[in-house]
Assembly symmetry: none
DNA sequence: AATGAATGAGAATTCATTCAT
DNA sequence: AATGAATGAATTCTCATTCAT
């Protein structure tokens, strides 16, 4: 069965790391292959193109966020505030690499407009992000208000990730999270 | 032979349009030259490299925002609310192309990390953005609160521009602007 | 593990079909393997290279034509005209796929010059083709005339197969066959 | 205006030579560039893709045949026999390279099926080939007969070019031409 | 100033082939 | 025998950049 050096998931994880560090366009298939310890051509066993790989990376991120972050919003054993605290704390773990101290970007931002398929996957991600936040706020607020608070929160989180990277300062994200939690208390 | 077909500003304006529509990486020097009615090689009379051009585009945008948008924040003949309304309305003019109906992106988002020089220019831009908003809020709030409201506003605006493009729906931006104005009333 | 999924002949038949539909260069080893229900690597148990496979395909075609088409020329129970009619009818069965309605090409044309070994096999094929036709015409004509008629017929048949494919119209081949039969009557 | 090393026509001529010697698939863009004394990438100044180049090569051949060979069929100062003799003699000049002694193939044969655009161009070529021959035969024969003789001639010529290459013997073509001329005398 | 030709490095992708299991 | 993973060389194509005119 031949010496297996990598599997699909490893490639996706390595690609994700590179895409978040250097962006989609600044990462070559060669970079990805090297990071996996295989040759460029071998990537095409697993993914039919760089774009196919990107879509699978986006979907992996989506699923990861679903399982590790969004999920807290739906845990009905917790109060709204507890949900949101767990949510934010899990999100912070994703954006700050404790080991390297690096700040990671959100892969969607730069790639959304490259091909329509990327946008489809990215919309699905944000829809679930929005739904999770809205569900939390609905414990305290009516439909309309929860909706607005969720829209505002998603925008603010995404904007603060951008600012955090530009200024290399994670407090933008932390402050946004604090405000999201405070809003529950009013 | 020598007569001028274009000037630096025309190239910058055309580049800006393309970068906002298609992003830095998806715009080639050829695209830019074509949009200006000149040939690729001629661009190098004005800019030493694509990156040099990009920096000048960012600085142009910075200056444009300064003169057309941020400036309203410092017009002391206006009330805080009037300032902010003018500010937001001017910003909307920049992001929605009334003629084509298209939504334009924020060039900074995808290019900030390409080369350090981009980041320097982009930081300067956001610093002035932040200062303008903070100045408005300071009419009604103390230093600390104004600071926080400005940080929040900048993040929310940037996030909502991203969402507006992804979902092709400008109401994300309009709603953010509304909330920014409401905050003055509390 | 070891049980046979395919045999050499199945691979040759599948390859032949693909080579005739898509040509040698436009058919990959992967295409061939897929059409046989096995994996690419497994082909190398039967054939040492794509070229080795091609030679065996050509030789198979040669043998097939020998047994199914050329053979009628040597059946001395038949008249020359009967021989030729059977010959042509059998040939038509090979070039028109009654099920798919497709027209198949002659594999030799495009591959003759790829490697010398192909040419050797292809020459042997045409030699036998020519001999069969000449034998038929010799019943009615002298050596020299039969020779010329055979040369002419082989050229015309091959040219008409080409035209039939280009114009997707099998009547080129049918008309050529008609003329070959008419020539016996003069 | 920079040192011009090649022009479009030179590239087309060099490509034609290579395609006829080695076929479309066995000729790389690198081969073509080298034969022109330029680099691979420079070819894309003149042709947008290898296929685009191929179409222009086919169209060049078409035009060349039109001006150098088919044209004799329409020279009404000549008798039918004179037309055909000039036609055949001009054609022979194209297929035998007097300098190298090499026999050239007909580029259409192997490439007709690669992309639909090739087939369109190749059909146009054969249509004009057929029309020219038919016009000659119409001086002596009625519509129907001229039609059939033309169809037969085109097929026979193409088949004999193939045989000439396979057996490396130009007499296949010469004999076919002789027969075409003889048919006028019956 | 502008041109247009050429460059050359590098990108994605293809594919016949090898080989350990 | 068959697999499936990996190889590595080749191929098409892109694109920022240079430079003689």
């Amino acid at each position: 069965m031949a010496r297996k050096k990598v599997d699909e998931k490893t490639i996706i994880l390595n690609s994700l790391k590179l895409f978040r560090q250097k962006s989609f366009h600044n990462t070559s298939m060669e970079d990805i292959a090297t990071s996996c310890g295989i040759l460029k051509g071998s990537l095409y066993h697993y993914f039919s193109s760089k774009e196919d790989l990107m879509i699978k990376v986006i979907d992996f991120v989506h699923q990861y966020f679903q399982n590790e972050i969004f999920i807290h919003a739906w845990n009905e054993k917790l109060s709204a505030k507890q949900k949101l605290k767990k949510f934010c704390s899990a999100a912070e773990d994703v954006f700050f690499d404790k080991i390297s101290g690096k700040l990671y970007g959100n892969i969607g931002i730069e790639s959304a407009l490259v091909i329509p398929e990327f946008n489809t996957s990215i919309r699905a991600f944000f829809q679930d992000f929005f739904n999770a936040i809205k569900h939390i706020y609905k414990e305290k607020f009516n439909e309309k208000t929860a909706n607005e608070l969720a829209e505002r929160s998603v925008a603010e989180v995404e904007g603060s990730i951008m600012l955090a990277r530009i200024f290399n300062d994670k407090s933008y994200i932390i402050n946004t999270h604090k405000r999201m939690i405070e809003r529950l208390e009013k």
